[in-house]
Amino acid sequence: MKRRDFAPLLATPLLARALPARAQPASARMLTVAQPNDAQTMDPAKHSAFPTANILFQIFDALLTQDAAGDFKPALALSWSNPDPLTWRFVLRQGVKFHNGQEFDATAVKFTFDRALDPAFRAPYFSRIAAIKAVEVVDKFTVDLKTAAPFPTMLYSVYEASFATLIVPPGEASVNLATMPIGTGPYRFVEWRRDDRVVLEANPDYWGGAPRIPRVVFRPIREIRTRIAELRSGGVQIAVDIPPEDIAALDGGATKIANIASDFLYFFNFETLKPSPLQDKRVRQAINHAVDVDAIQRALLGGLGTRIATVLPSNAFGYDPSWKPYPFDPARARALLAEAGHRDGFAITLTSRQGRYMKDKEIMEATIGFLRRVGIRVTANYLEPGVWAQVSERKGREGLIFGGWSGRDPDLVWYPLLYTGQYQSYYTNLALDALLVQGRSTLDEAERRRIYNAAQAIIHEDAPFLPMLQPPLIYGLDARLSWSPRTDSMIDLRKASFG
């Protein structure tokens, strides 16, 4: 049992010897996960938060799931196909029971989707499934999801990170889901003490095989120092969102570190709709040349995460490893600025929030520093989240915008961020618009790859973004725990085990 003494001078050896160092040795029968926030509800369709989703994903299953590589795998649906471009057909798993004994079949799928799609139900993640126009039961174990237009990203809408599509039981059992969740998942609900803990127990009859750890507890611990203290003292076995600077101290002895590059994207996009130097392509390219993203990644994220060549996760559909970001070349940046008539540089605003994502403010400050070296003077305007939402709603983000986004398909990233007139778009390019529409209008994967390759050529040349990186997800773990993180940040305890 190894501990690191922060204050050896203050430590009284007598006291230390008299009492056990680890308050409660973690038993192999229980796994406690510490994340910043508590569940908002136990109803999968009534929230919009990952900490809640992480809990509910142990209780419920979706039609599909993902493997470690991020590929879709069968869950409650065994296979899927497109009988026509407007239909996604799912053949369902048989012999699955909900925790209350109810049988899972096509009516449960129809009930789940109809419930979340009802506008009066007010599902926060309605937008993820809004393309589904009708759910038709073909037979007891086959169901069709109908769309008005081809919907190539359907699978992202029906796997667990789409939240509202975790399958709930129809009828009586669905009435009290908010406090008494009943799913088909590997763990059954035991107790929810609000702001304190959610307790789950293994479902021995789980269709995917009984989980190895009999009891799971999720605890909300917002303060990172407290999460780390709990991990070190054996109170929790998974602590999420560990800062990069704590990795060295936690990776060894009784604890270890697991990290993975997330699907999330760090980048700047440029306000190009209003008159400003950013309307000139050469200025946008200059910014891309001026910032040493690799150095930022090394210095602030300990080299973790993945550098991206465009604003798309490197594990997204259509991402081509041959794509390269603009090289760091301050001389080229200055030359481009001079060519654009900004020999003495210019002043510009940066609009963002701070403290929302790991190291976001530090990364913005570092970027500002690099830009200052080529003569671009940036004034940061950090907004409170509520104000940011208001400003965004009236399309008032200015200058360089650090907003964050995720999505593993170009249609989920480029369409909302670049298509002319979209709520989040501060850019317009009709040639690109045409390609983005084509890309979302066909289910043909080869065709879509070709379209998005052409789109990326435009994006690279026209530089509406400064792509940076996919930040890492860093977890502190009990050294005996065997568990792997996922790029979409969903916590899956189906295969977790001790020893």
Binding site: R219, E393, Y423
Partner: protein, 305 residues
């Protein structure tokens, strides 16, 4: 006396009403929670649709009338995040906060009273200087820093106390210490200065002159008179402790109303913020009311004013 009580009661009701009006409009100045509640990719139409469903698009005065009408019937609305009655969420968490604040108050008094007495009696000597130094520390160290240091020492380094959560009394030790620091300092300093003042008064000199032992003089004659201002401050610290619990609860992951309030504010969960502020206003106004009444009972001059 009855007149006095009635006047105070009317004041109390007016304060609670004023606070609820103020908080209703203040939290709405910063915009409504629709865009925060929906996922980032939600379209403008969808935000507008949600806003309409929630009634946030109505004029403020209409919303206020609805709020007031329902509040008078005891309905403070549903929490947007939790989809449950807002006041119920607040009341559910209050016992935990009361437990924490109570423990902190007890700790403050148990530490501050002997410390303040000792400092006054030993004025200018070592015990006084130590007492003053400790209370300076207690007053000036930020709660969050103190809390994190406690966790580092007691949980990480020595491993003798659980770092967070609510359960046995062991879970209360560190949060109560962190929360009590400030109150302890205030009470110590106040008791010290009142005692010094009292110890210099004529009747104490008389008591000494007639040969009474030092201990009865301090505990019986002096403390009784020095206690009145101290008791007032202790009563007022109850409100401060309940409010101070917000930060302490967050750091120690303690499931009280402070955590609920912080989350509600960052999520713009209007109904929960309103219920929280209203509830706290009632609690603090009630404490002040009781202090006033106690004062009036102790000091007849106040009643007549």
């Amino acid at each position: 006396m009855l007149n006095f009580l009635l006047t105070r009661l009317v004041h109390a009701v007016a304060v609670v009403f004023g606070v609820s009006v103020a908080v209703f409009f203040l939290i709405r100045i910063g915009g409504d929670p629709s865009a925060l509640f929906l996922p980032p990719e939600a379209s403008l139409e969808e935000i507008a649709r949600f806003r309409h469903l929630m009634g946030f698009d109505q004029p403020l005065i209409v919303q206020f009338r609805q709020f007031l009408g329902r509040a008078l019937q005891g309905d403070f609305g549903q929490s947007l995040r939790y989809d449950q009655p807002a006041m119920q969420l607040v009341l559910e968490r209050f016992p935990a906060t009361l437990e924490l604040s109570g423990a902190a108050l007890l700790l403050s008094v148990v530490v501050a009273v002997p410390l303040g007495l000792l400092a006054a009696v030993q004025r200018g000597r070592l015990a006084d200087r130590v007492g003053l130094f400790l209370s300076l520390i207690g007053q000036s160290f930020p709660t969050f820093w103190l809390a994190i240091m406690l966790i580092l020492l007691f949980s990480e380094t020595w491993g003798i106390l659980p770092p967070s959560g609510r359960g046995g009394w062991l879970n209360l030790v560190m949060p109560a210490m962190a929360l009590a620091a400030y109150s302890t300092a205030i009470i110590t300093r106040l008791l010290r200065s009142s005692m010094i003042e009292v110890l210099q008064s004529d009747y104490i000199r008389t008591a000494r002159a007639k040969g009474l032992a030092p201990l009865p003089i301090i505990l019986v004659h002096a403390l009784r008179n020095a206690a009145i201002p101290t008791l007032t401050v202790i009563a007022l610290q109850v409100g401060a402790l309940l409010g101070g619990a917000v930060i302490t609860e967050e750091i120690f992951a303690y499931p009280g109303i402070g955590r609920l309030a912080i989350q509600a504010i960052s999520n713009r969960d209007f109904t929960v913020i309103q219920a929280f502020v209203l509830f706290m206003a009632v609690v603090i106004v009630s404490i002040n009311f009781l202090v006033d009444v106690a004062y009036a009972l102790l000091d007849p001059r106040i009643r007549r004013r």
